[in-house]
Subunit: 730 residues, 2 copies
């Protein structure tokens, strides 16, 4: 892969960013650069309309309103949990898709939520004032929550609680701790005040940009009644499966429609929707992508990149490659096993491709050399400015030190503290119930931050959802993770001995899964509502295990926050302050699963000397059909082949700076018309975690022409199609 | 892990090696250093006796004669193929072990061969003369064969043909190619002349030491009738299983007895055996280990280390971690599956631990920085000596260039050329039959070197052996490797399309395995003996596939040899020449699965501040018993517990520089008495691939006291025990 200049050096040299680089906030979009490069004028009305037409799927995706009646376009792969929820012995929605013919056939997605960003308020000054008023020192434990489509590389097995905690805080020095606590308190207070004022219609979230260079309060309108309207078969929605994932040329109809409903059970009114342009965009035409990129790590220090390269990524890859092998072998046992395993298998295979390419990027010495060089330049710039140096200190050494302190107990933290040793949904439910009971008994401001009042509705929705729990799969996940814990911590480790006793991982997993009732949402609800008393009295074996391990898990988390995460965050803020002092907002902040706007053009790339065409066409889909998964064109498409126009554009690529979380984003033209549906990137896009390379990094999208062609001629989906036509006509 | 000085810098600085470092040849043992450090005098008689008492197991291990009647002590894990061979639905020798009570109960190990090194002859001058006579240029394709216990990191799935080819040669420049060919011809000629003279009793092998600094002809007495006399249950032979592998403290009776027979069916006469010292050696006592370390890579350039770190090792680890997951899941299906998978699973888990720790060593920037520094020092020394510089050229740049040329077709070579895309025994048989027929039709000197006349007996033994072939396992291995090939080469790759057609990897694997008769040794013999005609006429689907892919596989191998392996070997020889010019034989050559002698002392190490005792004792074995694999003490040991002395020493560690291939080596004292049986190293020993660290690197051995205690009180093994007593008494 060729090397691109990343943001940092360019800031320091006051050079422009790479063409098309950046995931920009809506209040700081580089309209002038876009006008210069593409001759397109983006004004505030355009930005407002696009913002209101773009939605966040709280499981880590993006979507766009496609009608004024709450219809949402997103990716099929963003509806995985809903497809699984409605897949049972009789109906395989995962495999066969869903074509609702009328509202009554829409399927409720019980763990899905949808948000629209209504306003953003700069609260940087309030935060600074609260910190200025401080009397040091004071320490307390808090945490914040981050959600992203891509799982945490350290802890991220399949995410069940969407509120996978990324705890942050409590610091090595009292002053850092007090500052952090004061900051968290003012943020929580502003959030609460905001929600109180909005009386439940609005969800308020504090957002740190530029690693703390700016703070904002984001107000979202949130929809909790979300229903599936249309999803195609897996055979076309994920044609090519894992072999084709992150590759292009490509032929995936990775599209689905959802609909949001108001509390009165009526479709939500959504006047700010996107008109579709069936012809799409032409090669070279400028395009724009609003969406919620999950996270990028373009500002990590070299020590942090080395930790990822040497420890976190190889560990994650080896662990999950092995789990993939288990899933694949299990899928051969019977048809039901095959069906059950599709969701976690797809998730893990996607993760493996991502991490593998991330590791490859970090193993390229040129990248590391460049990062080292830029780090040296920034350190020199800070040293040359005594005032700035006094303000920010030596964050690089603080990070080095935090890593040194973390590594000796990293595996303990990972397996026991972060729960990687306890795979599967059932233990995750148990931990949430045990912890949730204890935390809810405390005043709001003293809780672990993922159990604060404003976060509870989402926990409850996920806990009470009737998402299926497959006992055989649970046993595999739990036995695998217990075995891996024994392998990594050693059979003589006290925690391992406490957990396993004389059992093998397989025996323990079986007895826990067979003995537990937590697959039943009713029991989960009862335990949640029963609080500390109910949890203390429960003799459910999964609850007993979570209860027994909770003190140790909390102690490890506390130590992790104190010696690692807190200092890292404090140092990262100082680093960001240094950069911000030099550069202000002339660049973009790292992705944080908040609304951003990227821009670029429809364009292929040069792959080892040959030019990749930016478009694919329907005809070649049939040429690649082998009749066997994952290259089996579904029966519906075979039957209607004669009716279809083989020259219909299918997928296309563009020079859009995007990442996980942008899945489901609309691709729009200068007139804010929908000209594509982003669903993936090429293999080079994965290095985008660390830098943007305009020569090779490409986002992959579904063309609107193939969606419309399929809805009309393959699926006879008059219900959706009529709505789209009507919307286009307004 | 702490850093140690490796050989290279010490050579350049003319400093002594690390204490106890080195795998020395018998003709260059550093007796003076040993006398200085340990006060022990090693003379020629001692060396001769030890050499004749030490055997090479041709599957990649070492053993020692334990009586004058052909009895051999080695590790249980060195008898895997024999244990598998005698495991069927009725008798699970793998799990239950074998205690022969008389000669008739011994079990033939049909794919095992045993060799004793009789003489070595320095042929460096003959090789140099043959090259000096050359008229350049001339090019031809040849190859040599290497065998080692540890599999090749690039190609090494389960090794079926023990002659896994490590082809070497044909070079970027005509003169290199001609030199290489002349060298190979003189080596083959000297081997042939040697064997002709010995009339079939002796096997002659040319050996390159110091990467070509010296050439030797090694003459081995070879035994092909090898029988299993004793092996304990897997529960005690591998107590602790994978979790304990490469760990210490440890409690493994990883011991087994074999016996070699002469052609007349009588036990071989082996007067040069080792007497046992039941009391073993005391802490601090000097000990010696003769054996056949397989390979070390202490002289690789930084570019080669980076290739391993960035590409080969991560690839191998991810691929095999996934295959491990498949095996583990398959093992849960039924008892038979569990039994079938034990051998390949154990092999792969061992490999994963090794590679994982090798990767960790290479990801330690301190190691790479040190290697870089030493490389710079050596380059400077060469530059400073114009005569030497003219002779050796710039081997570092040659290696860099070879890697650059290799990488673009590496995956093609690996999956198609080296056959990683075709897992399982059956395809390996097919490839050997197809290639063997074609090669045997050529004059000896024109064949691929692994099919030269002197190599055929071993191929035939392995091909005609009745080792079991498990169809379900074959399908898993083949489907997995085909799927991985599609993943890595891409579904649109012409070779992938030619192989898979419209089939899934699973479908193709099933039809090949179900349709092929190659599980039957009689058919393999028939095809082998039928030669090109029989192979060409065969419509066995596995033969058909091997036949169809052979031209492409050969072409890839040729390209690999021409642009990569040949130039690498030529450069490595020039590097070795540079080192040899400066240092001569005052250091030891990299391991080559030829006879070596290491030395050190019985000694623990300091593990994160706490001293590890060098011995373990029987009592704690029972304390660690969970009753469940892999921590289940076998029933035999539970029943006899009361009779056993709980203070019996079990395993111990010593500062011995050893590696894979040393498994089964005797540990002996200054009087050449057996005081231990080497079977493993601690986790730090794995970094020994690249350097020796006297502070942490430890070899792990079985104590003779526990072997004798077990034979007498657990197994009532009077047959073996009587023979040992008698041998001790002589």
């Amino acid at each position: 892969m060729r090397l691109a200049f990343s943001g940092l050096l360019l800031i320091l040299l006051a050079s422009p960013l790479q063409a098309d680089e950046g995931m920009w906030t809506f209040d700081n979009f580089p309209a002038r650069s876009v006008q210069q490069e593409y001759g397109v004028r983006i004004d505030q009305a355009w930005l407002d309309q696009v913002r209101l037409a773009t939605v966040r799927l709280e499981n880590g995706c993006t979507g766009s309103f496609a009608s004024d009646n709450g219809l949402i376009l997103t990716n099929r792969h963003c509806t995985f949990s809903c497809l699984s929820e409605h897949t049972d012995a009789d109906h395989n929605v995962w495999r066969d898709g869903l074509v609702a013919r009328h509202p009554g056939e829409e399927k409720r997605c019980s763990s899905q939520q949808v948000s629209v960003l209504m306003t953003t308020t700069d609260i940087t000054k309030q935060v600074a004032d609260a910190i200025a008023e401080l009397d040091p020192p004071e320490i307390e434990e808090t945490a914040t929550v981050t959600i992203s489509e891509s799982e945490n590389v350290e802890t991220g097995e399949a995410v069940v609680e969407q509120d996978e905690a990324e705890s942050v805080q409590t610091v090595q020095e009292a002053s850092d701790a007090a500052i952090n606590e004061a900051r968290n308190k003012i943020l929580t207070r502003l959030e609460q005040a905001c929600e109180a004022e909005a009386k439940g219609k609005i969800s308020c979230e504090a957002v740190a940009l530029y690693h703390g260079g700016q703070y904002f309060l984001y107000q979202y309108k949130r929809y909790s009644d979300v229903r599936l309207v249309f999803a195609p078969e897996v055979g076309i929605g994920a044609f090519g499966g894992d072999p084709d994932n992150f590759n292009f040329p490509r032929w995936c109809l990775d599209a689905a429609f959802l609909r949001v409903y108001d509390d009165d059970g009526q479709p939500a009114k959504t006047p700010d929707y996107l008109r579709w342009r069936a012809a799409g965009a032409q090669a070279g035409e400028p395009v724009f992508v609003p969406g919620h990129p999950g996270s990028t790590e373009r500002q990590l220090t070299t020590a942090q990149l080395e930790l990822l390269r040497n420890v976190s990524l190889p560990d994650w890859l080896m662990r999950n490659a092995e789990l993939r092998g288990r899933y694949k072998q299990f899928s051969t046992v019977d048809e039901q096993a095959f069906d059950e395993v599709q969701e976690p298998l797809t998730r893990i295979e996607n993760g493996l491709k991502v991490r593998k390419n991330e590791l490859a990027a970090l193993l390229d010495d040129r990248l590391m050399d460049q990062k080292r060089q830029r780090e040296a330049t920034l350190r020199a710039a800070v040293t040359a400015d005594p005032v700035l140096a006094a303000e920010v200190g030596d964050p690089w050494s603080q990070i080095d030190q935090a890593i040194v302190e973390y590594l000796p107990f990293r595996k303990q933290y990972l397996y026991i503290g972060a729960g990687v040793g306890f795979g599967g949904k059932m233990f995750a439910y148990a931990r949430t119930l045990v912890r949730g009971a204890a935390e809810r008994a405390k005043p709001n401001e003293e809780r672990l931050r993922e159990y604060r009042g404003t976060a509870l509705p989402r926990i409850e929705q996920s806990l009470f959802a009737s998402a299926p729990v497959h006992p055989r799969l649970e046993q595999i996940q739990l036995a695998f993770s217990l075995g891996k814990m024994r392998e990594e911590l050693g059979p003589d480790d006290p925690n391992v001995q406490k957990i396993l006793g004389n059992h093998t991982p397989e025996q323990l997993a079986r007895s826990l899964v067979e003995g537990s009732g937590l697959a039943d949402p009713a029991l989960r609800r009862k335990l949640w509502e029963g609080g500390t008393v109910a949890v203390a009295k429960s003799d459910d074996p999964m609850i007993r295990l979570a209860r027994a391990m909770d003190p140790e898990a909390r102690a490890l988390r506390k130590r992790y926050e104190e010696v690692y995460e807190g200092p890292i965050k404090a140092a990262a803020e100082n680093l960001a302050r240094a950069r911000f002092a030099i550069d202000g907002t002339s660049t973009y902040p790292d992705a944080t699963f908040t609304l951003r706007l990227s821009y670029g053009a429809v364009k292929g790339w040069n792959e080892l000397g040959h030019e990749v065409d930016p478009f694919t066409y329907l005809g070649r889909l049939y040429a690649r059909n082998t009749g066997q998964p994952p290259f089996d064109v579904p029966k519906s498409w075979m039957q209607r082949k004669r009716d279809l126009d083989m020259k219909t554009r299918f997928n296309f690529v563009a020079t859009i700076d995007a990442t996980g979380g942008n899945s489901g984003s609309p691709v729009i033209n200068k007139d804010a018309q929908l000209v594509g549906l982003l669903f993936d990137g090429n293999a080079y896009s994965i290095a985008g975690a660390y830098w943007y390379d305009p020569a090779l990094n490409r986002a992959i999208s579904v063309h609107p022409a193939i969606i419309l062609e399929a809805l009309e001629k393959v699926y006879d989906a008059d219900y959706v199609l009529g709505e789209l036509s009507e919307a286009a006509g307004r």
